[in-house]
């Protein structure tokens, strides 16, 4: 049997209470949401938190709703809810693309968007997804809320902008017309983490790419935000040739390392293939031309 080291456990009854506990207990305390990243690490004793603060009762953090020109997703919203949400699929179909290939139903029934983003593993599909759609993270502490963009949220491998005594409460995505999005992933087996993944969102106006977001998962120490590719694409008419150029940039701008999933050259190659594919599919969706 795999046994974690001993720890104290408390069940939060309010967001304020959870934050108060985090502040009182300091760096030895960790939030536990779905537990699908944290518990495996604890069982292998790679993580040894002294205190767990369980936020699973905080129903107020579980929602997907349209609020003005933004879509808001509560931090405790489960993968399965993201997968099933028609609202989300209508505005940002790449969430469903991603959720179809994240882990398995057992993990998706419990794992949360907040946990995925806070885990800050470069291979988390939702990190690339949120980056491509230019989402913002709402972080709350005793002193109130602050909002940071995805590029500032993921600071490094397993490190986020969430500070001591703070927690992530919400993810906000701006709603704009003419959008389409897609997520592409190559995995060794269903339910496995990506060898490489690419998320793309495009907003088309008058036959031109008005704005675009492209991000890569699993091919660098953190999610790779492809700003050079975005610059190339912005203002141009979409075409396969253009997307292939963006793919080349993806291949050059990622920084994968070799591991059991594959060598560096293969991962760079995939970055290119998947970026091209994600852009084509996102565009087809924006133009309502998806095959």
């Amino acid at each position: 049997m795999q046994t974690p080291a001993s720890f104290e456990y408390e069940r939060a009854t309010s967001v304020e209470g959870a934050i108060a506990s985090l502040q009182r207990l300091g760096s030895g305390a960790r939030i536990i949401a779905g537990g699908h990243s944290l518990l495996p690490m604890m069982k292998l004793r790679l993580a040894n938190p002294e205190h767990l603060i369980d936020i699973n009762d905080l129903a107020e953090l579980s929602y997907i709703r349209e609020q003005g020109d933004e879509l808001s997703i509560g931090a405790l919203t489960r993968h399965v809810e993201l997968e099933k949400s028609e609202l989300l699929a209508r505005h940002f179909p790449l969430f469903r693309d991603a959720e179809n290939v994240i882990a398995d139903p057992v993990v998706r029934n419990r794992g949360t968007i907040g946990g995925s983003l806070c885990q800050a593993d470069a291979a988390e599909d939702l990190s690339a997804v949120c980056s491509a759609v230019k989402a913002k993270a709402v972080i709350r502490g005793a002193g109130g809320e602050r909002v940071v963009g995805m590029e500032d949220f993921h600071i490094g491998p397993y490190v986020t902008a969430v500070g001591e005594g703070e927690m992530l409460t919400e993810v906000r995505i701006p709603l704009r017309p003419g959008g389409g999005s897609a997520h592409e992933k190559v995995e060794r087996r269903a339910g496995d983490w990506a060898i490489a993944a690419a998320s793309a969102a495009v907003w088309i106006e008058g036959g031109k790419i008005a704005d675009v977001g492209v991000a890569l998962g699993a091919v660098g120490p953190t999610t790779i935000h492809l700003s050079r590719a975005e610059e190339l694409l912005r203002g141009k008419a979409p075409s396969e040739g253009l997307f292939a150029q963006a793919g080349e940039i993806a291949s050059a701008d990622c920084s994968p390392s070799a591991d059991g999933r594959g060598p560096i050259d293969y991962k760079r190659h995939l970055a290119s293939v998947l970026t091209t594919r994600a852009l084509s599919r996102a565009t087809a969706r924006a133009l309502h031309q998806e095959a």
Partner: protein, 794 residues
């Protein structure tokens, strides 16, 4: 979905024997009511945990257990020093080598057992592992079998007197070298390949473990342990620990998969037993997943060089030269006289003129083991090699791979057929089975579809394999393990009410013994299978025998049950003759009943005969009361199941991802007792074959760190990687088995990997010039092959 044609009989109907029958064991399994080892809690039980080496090769300078011993819940910390005083620091392996129970001098693989902690609960036991200080001096490690015999390779087994290199056993040969040289000289076509069957792992969902419960008052040792050969293990414990064999009882609870992983005796078992003897309380030890993957019986790891030749378009000869990686200790489980197992069945299903096989075994700094994973003693490696070679030859000859096989098959009239390496195949009609597979597949249409797709830039491959296995070890004149004949017992008792208990020495880990063996008694005695209780897995309640592995249950134990049932039937005949006041020779048998020839009305049912056998009424002269019998079955030969498999794969030309779109499996395992159980065995084995071909592998870095110590990195396939398997059958009865049955459990695992790999190469040969790839065919490795860089696995 499989359909159930033949439901259990109602009391009034005629009982049934063979046929599709829902499994007796399902009632508890599908309700989550199975009892696995970790479900068992005994009063006063304490818990063990194993400290393992982080290094693949290192000298142990010191071990300090004082901090662990100071832990309030720790009862004991056992090291090699403590075991030495009991004479248990080393134990013999099944292959006449020795293995450290706990390492004292050196650690020889990552994950090797170093110290055993006993504590009141498993949390404390694991906490205490972190309190043990071991000082190591790291040594260079050997993980590549090809480098193990380099002159400057570090000596791994310096514990063995006279050992100067890393050779684990002398070179072993089969076949005729001179004749093979002649056949190659006369051949018109020769192909060569270096082929690796990488190290993989059976990875049963339930890991290994044991509860040892020694009673100091009575001297009785009760062992709870999911294990594939309980009787043989008991004998080993008696020898190793010097305990009285009749005072040891091994009880197997439900077993969550074995696949050969639960054949060996592991150091954790010896520590649990020693712990219980010393502490006088039950000691439970259950492995973690990572412990299972890095330290227990692995599979394969054969580095093979081979040449195959043809003359006039027909295969004529085969040469094979193998380096077998046995890890740090040679604990491969196989019959004594067969140090390379049954690998020399490598001449396959073909009528060769000559063949020659050489196998050299080496030590490396990797975990010991070697024949696990549904492998029937290295037949898996043999079939993989020969089926890859036939495809290589077909490429060279530019002939369809099925056509080449058809030309070279052993013909039906050649059986019994003596192979060039000394096996006597019992029966077969290979071409017919191949044709059934082609029909199900729609082979010609598939080839047409492939050509069309290729023209459109799509990659589709069709791969074939045809295997012959030799299973059901084995005849006592050839085969033993540690001096124990590979025979199996059966003990059948029909009670006065006509209900029966049959006790067998084979042990199920998912093979459905409780159902299949009841059906054999039902068939032979004509009583309903639900009236037959199958008892196994408890050495106190079953006869001696060697257990379940190597597809031997039906060939050996199944035969024993048939023979013992017939013995009971013969006794019933004599009793019936007395009851019916006639002579035994005047009686005829129909299922469940002896009746007077020519007078159908006058007869006695088995139930009536049973009543009589236990009653006060007279028995035939000289006969004892009761209706029971026992046998030990010694098979005259192995059984030789075979099959034709066809895989259809699609490959993403940009990413190298392989999808197995269709898989056609036509098995001939002789007479099928419960065809639904056979289908289930085939489904499971095919899924494993998909895993081995596409993703499963144990790899190591240069320092000998195992890179696949969890299911995050040791990938096993899911339903999503498996197509809807298309099964077919032909039935060629085994001429020497009482039921005409052959083994089948391992066939699908043996036969499927070469079909899939051949399909991958078939998809890539014309467009990318690929003529070889090693497993696993992961996206990255397939892509590398498409770039002209097929790399062997690490």
């Amino acid at each position: 979905m499989a359909t159930v044609e033949n439901l259990p009989s109602a009391q009034t109907e005629r009982p049934i024997g063979f046929g599709r029958l829902k499994r007796k064991e399902d009632a508890r399994f599908i309700r989550g009511k199975g009892t696995y080892l970790d479900d068992i809690r005994l009063p006063g039980m304490v818990h063990g945990a194993m400290l393992r080496s982080p290094y693949a090769h290192a000298r142990i300078l010191s071990i300090d257990t004082s901090k662990a011993l100071a832990h309030p819940n720790v009862a004991a910390v056992v090291t090699a020093k403590d075991l030495e005083t009991l004479g248990l620091a080393w134990m013999p392996t099944i292959s006449y080598d020795t293995q450290a129970v706990l390492a004292g001098d050196k650690v020889r693989f990552q994950g090797q057992e170093v110290a055993f902690v006993i504590a009141t609960d498993e949390y404390s036991a694991n906490d205490a592992l972190q309190l043990i200080d071991v000082e190591y001096e790291p040594l260079p490690a050997i993980v590549n079998a090809r480098k193990a015999l380099d002159p400057d390779a570090p000596l791994i087994r310096d514990d063995k007197a006279g050992q100067r290199d890393n050779l684990a056993s002398p070179t072993w040969e089969a076949g005729d070298q001179a004749a093979t040289d002649r056949v190659f000289a006369e051949a018109d076509t020769v192909v060569k390949r270096d082929i690796i069957y990488p190290r993989c792992h059976p990875a049963p969902l339930e890991t290994c473990g044991m509860i040892a419960d020694f009673n100091p008052e009575t001297g009785q040792l009760d062992i709870y342990n999911g294990n594939q050969a309980p009787h043989a293990h008991r004998t080993v414990y008696a020898h190793v620990a010097g305990l009285a064999e009749h005072m040891i009882r091994i009880k197997c609870s439900d077993i969550g998969g074995g696949f050969g992983n639960k054949v060996p005796v592991y150091p954790g078992y010896v520590c649990a037993i020693a712990g219980s003897i010393v502490a006088g309380v039950p000691v439970k030890w259950v492995e973690n997943r990572d412990e299972n993957l890095i330290s227990t019986g692995f599979a394969r790891d054969y580095v093979m060089h081979s040449e195959m030749c043809a003359k006039n378009g027909k295969i004529t000869g085969l040469r094979v030269d193998v380096i077998a990686d046995h890890g740090a200790f040679d604990s491969t489980a196989q019959p004594t006289k067969f140090p390379a197992g049954f690998f020399h069945i490598v001449c396959g299903s073909y009528d060769l003129e000559a063949s020659h096989v050489k196998v050299k075994a080496v030590y490396t700094n990797k975990a010991p083991g070697g024949v696990a994973y549904r492998c029937s003693f290295r037949i898996t490696e043999a079939v993989y090699l020969v089926e890859r070679m036939v495809d290589a030859l077909a490429l060279e000859l530019k002939v369809d791979p099925i056509e080449l096989r058809m030309r070279s098959f052993i013909a039906p009239e050649q059986f019994p057929y003596e192979t060039t390496t000394g096996w006597t195949y019992d029966s077969g009609n290979y071409a017919e089975t191949m044709r059934v597979a082609m029909d199900i597949a729609g082979y010609e249409d598939l080839r047409r579809e492939q050509a069309e797709k290729r023209a459109r830039g799509e990659l589709m491959g069709i791969g074939v394999s045809f295997f012959t296995e030799g299973v059901g070890a084995g005849p006592r004149k050839h085969m033993d393990i540690l001096g124990l004949a590979m025979n199996d017992g059966a003990d059948l008792r029909v009670h006065p009410s006509g209900k029966a208990v049959v006790s067998i020495s084979a042990q199920t880990q998912g093979q459905s013994h409780e159902t299949t063996f009841a059906q054999i008694v039902a068939e032979e005695l004509g009583i309903p299978p639900e009236d037959v209780e199958v008892r196994h897995g408890d050495t106190d309640r079953s006869p001696y025998g060697l257990g379940t592995y190597g597809s031997r249950s039906t060939p050996v134990s199944g035969a024993a049950v048939a023979v013992v049932s017939r013995k009971v039937r013969d006794k019933a005949r004599l009793i019936a003759a007395t009851m019916l006041e006639t002579r035994p020779e005047d009686l005829a048998w129909e299922k469940g009943r002896w009746y007077v020839k020519g007078d159908l009305e006058k007869g006695a049912m088995i139930e009536e005969i049973a009543v009589r056998a236990y009653s006060g009424e007279p028995m035939p002269t000289g006969m004892e009361g009761g209706l029971d019998a026992q046998v030990i079955y010694d098979p005259p030969n192995l059984t030789y199941p075979y099959g034709a498999y066809i895989a259809v794969v699609d490959i993403d030309p940009d990413t190298g991802q392989v999808t197995v779109r269709r898989f056609i499996a036509v098995d001939d395992c002789g007479v099928r007792i419960n065809p639904m159980v056979v289908d289930g065995q085939i489904h499971g084995g095919l899924a494993e074959g998909v895993g081995i071909a596409l993703m499963e592998v144990l790899t190591f870095d240069e320092e000998g760190n195992c890179l696949n110590s969890s299911f995050l990195n040791y990938l096993i396939p899911t339903a999503l990687e498996c197509p809807d398997f298309e099964l077919g059958e032909t039935v060629t009865p085994c001429p020497h088995h009482p039921l005409g049955a052959k083994g089948v459990g391992e066939s699908p695992n043996v036969g499927s990997p070469p079909a899939i790999v051949n399909a991958v190469i078939d998809a890539l040969h014309q467009t990318h010039g690929v003529d070889h790839i090693d497993m696993p065919c992961t996206p990255a490795r397939v892509w590398a092959a498409m770039q002209g860089r097929p790399e062997p696995p690490q």
